[in-house]
């Protein structure tokens, strides 16, 4: 698996990616995820990474009782030795999607909100991982855990995940501390944790809880979903700005407030980034105008670039 995803990137950015606007017009979340994943697969077929998921790892001598399907017949023909071909098995990687549903995720400056985008992202990952044979679980939260579906790989489970994702977001504020604590308690088996959130909350507790999660052996990936308006603050009109979580409002003249906002926001982002780096956590920032398959690509590329394999368990 030497070539990196990096090589595939030009082809990806060349316009074959799904326009988020077009994607978001698909009402059904499951369908949306399928579109992304299938598009991704079709891209993969053209790429040199075919067979990515069933990766050869080692041989071991055949003992009586082993499944003959895994016997390397070519080796038998060549050397008359009986070896069982051992493949890297990712299907049993238990992954959990941690999705932030707090009201701040409802913000949108485009035709879709961060929540829509995040749900599609989560659905895409679910579909993708499921298609790979991984067990996928879901945990949604705002200031506390709302829905929890343990990671499974069985028929109908994906459907359940989709339904949970389609639920309307609830009230409350973004509080990462409590849900992260809960997930540590709930998920004992090591696996992958995909945290999808806008991270628009104080970062104090985040370090501790993410660190705890990482320390438990989970492979943590953070996707920060942001609206373009949040990164640029290109408002023109002086109005009252209302906090979507607390309801507090504030009279603002954007042109006057922009500089300070960008500064504070930048500080927050860099703090979050450095925090993740410190903990060895992959940190991806996605704005809602970025095609979803890029997120998928970046995810995979990042995983390869980091040189770490997902945690494996053998059958």
């Amino acid at each position: 698996m030497s070539p990196s995803l990096q090589d595939a990137r030009p082809a990806v950015s060349g316009g074959s990616f799904l326009d988020p606007a077009a994607l978001m017009r698909i009402r059904n979340l499951e369908l949306r995820a399928q579109v992304v994943v299938e598009g991704f697969w079709s891209g993969m077929h053209r790429s040199p990474f075919h067979g990515f998921s069933v990766e050869f790892t080692e041989y071991r001598p055949y003992v009586v009782g082993d499944d003959l399907r895994y016997l390397d017949w070519r080796l038998v023909a060549r050397s008359d030795r009986y070896y069982i071909k051992k493949f890297e098995d990712e299907t049993n990687l238990p992954s959990h999607l941690l999705l932030d549903l707090s009201p701040s995720m409802n913000f949108k400056s485009l035709g879709w909100s961060k929540r829509d985008y995040a749900a599609t992202l989560a659905a895409t990952f679910s579909q993708f991982l499921h298609d790979q044979g991984d067990a996928v679980g879901l945990l949604t939260f705002d200031d506390r855990v709302r829905d929890y579906l343990p990671s499974r790989h069985r028929k109908g489970h994906l459907r359940q995940i989709m339904l949970a994702l389609e639920k309307q977001s609830s009230a409350g504020t973004t509080s990462l501390a409590e849900p992260l604590k809960r997930i540590v308690e709930i998920v004992r088996r090591r696996g992958m944790m995909l945290l999808i959130s806008d991270l628009l909350a104080p970062l104090e507790d985040l370090e501790k809880n993410l660190g705890h999660l990482a320390a438990c052996g989970h492979d943590v990936v953070v996707f920060q979903v942001l609206d373009p308006a949040e990164t640029t603050f290109q408002f023109q009109k002086a109005t009252r700005f209302e906090d979507m979580e607390s309801g507090r409002d504030l009279y603002l003249n954007p042109s006057a407030a922009r500089a300070r906002y960008l500064e504070a926001f930048g500080q927050h982002q860099s703090a979050a980034k450095s925090l993740c780096e410190r903990l060895g956590i992959a940190f991806h920032v996605l704005t809602t105008d970025v095609p979803l398959d890029i997120a998928l690509f970046e995810f995979l590329r990042d995983r390869l670039a980091r040189g770490r394999k997902p945690v494996k368990t053998r059958r």
Binding site: N106, L200, A201, F235, K237, R248, L252, F265
Partner: protein, 694 residues
Amino acid sequence: MNFLAPLFLAGAAAVALPILLHLIRRTEREKTPFSSLMFLQPTPPQMTKRSRLENLFLLLLRCLVLALVAFAFSRPYLQQAITPPLQKTERVRTVVLVDTSASLRRDDLWAQAKQRAASVLRAAGAADEVALVAFDRQPRVLIDFTRWTGSASTERANLAVNLIESETPSWLSTHLGSAMMRGVELLEEKADAQLRKRLVVISDFQDGAKLDGLQGYEWPKGVEVRLEQINARNPGNAALQLGAELASGAGTTDGSIKVRVNNSADAKRDQFRIQRSDGGPGAEAYVPAGQSRVITLASGTNSLTATNGLRLSLTGDGQAFDDSLFIQTRRQETVRVLFLGNDDPKDSAGLAYYLGRAFPETRTRNVELLLRPTSVPLTAADLKDAALVIGSTRLTAGQAAWAKQALAAGVTVLLALPDSTSTEAIGTLLGRTAPNAADLTSNYSLFGRIDFQHPLFAPFADPRFSDFTRIHFWKARQLSTNGIPGARVVAAYDSGDAALMEIPAGRASLFVLTSTWTPADSQLALSSKFVPLLSGLLDYGRARQVFARQFFVGDSVPLPTNGVAGALSVVRPDGKREALAAGTPLFAGTTEPGFYRVDGLPEPLSFAVNLSPDESRTAPMAADALSNLGVPVKLVPTTLAAAPKADPAATLMTAANELEGRQKLWRWVLLAALGIVLIETWLAGRLSFGGKTA
């Protein structure tokens, strides 16, 4: 344009509010949801740009509403209609009318009236002209403008006040209408156009005041009327009034007396007692306020006679001035009507048949009809007590000569003209040649023109009784009146020819009917008018000899002149004797209620004078009684404290208040404001809806 409450105009400053709101609130009201304010700091609002003022028209409407409301609350009125209040620089011509009627005798009303009058008089400026008029039944000018302006300016008020001080309320009734008209007449008399004309009426404005004449009176422009009402401390009054029979002077058959007790509407008492002066049994009367009851007093020991009057007193009503009722009756008199002619009184085709039924007996009069056919010679004795002589023109010479004597003695003669040839008698009676007569050729005639002013027809003047069209004259004659001096056509046929004419002759009148009342000639005897006509004719002749016994204060009492030798004198109720010149036909000195006696007659004559019942109606008249008659009234409050000690500012304020109350401009302004609010609501709704869908 002036304002009653100009301070409210300051409320117009509130228009700043919508302007401010348009500057701020427009931007504040829109909220932009944002995911988190954690990176934001508040910035101060900016509103310096003019371009922030959105929806200028809406803003204009809102400002207009506020301005209009403030405008309405300041109670605007148009100045030009206001009559300028009294100013020292302006000359005013004032007529002060002071009521001196009997009702002013209540409580301290007269003192109040004098005080009011004095304050009005003393308030007059040096350049003002004032006339002072006292009125009751007649207006009496105490001071006219000439005398006022003629006296020293410092003395005028004192002079007038002294004059009013010397007045006392009379016993007369209140003729407010004629007094006010007289006041206006005085004001208009040789008036300077520069002068403001003002009529001040000081009165108790009682319900019984007569307003005759004001109806239909065109009130001159520019005359300001101020009514100063004075009120009694003890309202309410009850009074006695004679029953109809007694009022006519007739006695009662059984000696009982019927009186009506009236209680005024504002009375607080309803229990009264009636006592009689002859010691007879009195009566209790219960009369609720505003009602009247007829009380019958049983016959007393000394029942009413022609010579003795009876005085009834009412007690229990608190106002004494009208509590006495004086009753004087007259005895039944026998009068004679002579019929000259041969008609059988039982023959319904003859004239006499109807006369026998035309004079029923009444309490004051018993008519004796004497038939004098040609066979019975007439004597001078027949003239005694004769009041009326009736006959046709077919008189014998002897009858005609006797009738002429009757005329000379003052007896009325009525002749019917049965044909066009027998006019000799008329000539004889009048002492001249007989007038020509001719038959009218039409099928029938009707009364075409009737002189309702004539005493004979005056009772029929009311439209209810004035229909004579049912009386057909089948046979009528035309009698030329040419050359007969003093002949007066009382009634004429529709052809214009005289039907009934009065010709003065001797000391009486000769009436000639150019038809007869027999059914062959006319329907006159069968009509309802016949009896009253003959009765009127009877009284017409006797009016100068038969006298009423009941009068009201101020009435002129006719005095007998027949057979009176020498001068008469009248003894007034207070015992004073008033000598009258010989031949005086009327006594006008009935200035107080009571019994009067006329001395110097063969038979003593007494009559009773009472207060007019109208004067006893002391409840205040309806507030709009005068203004309904077109009088431009301004009523001054009743308490003395509010008497016109004219504070010019207060006067101006009052005038402005009234003017504003009349104009009520604020209503229209508020209505306009309401309309604008509706437009504003519609517009704002449209704008905000449009904003949302955009």
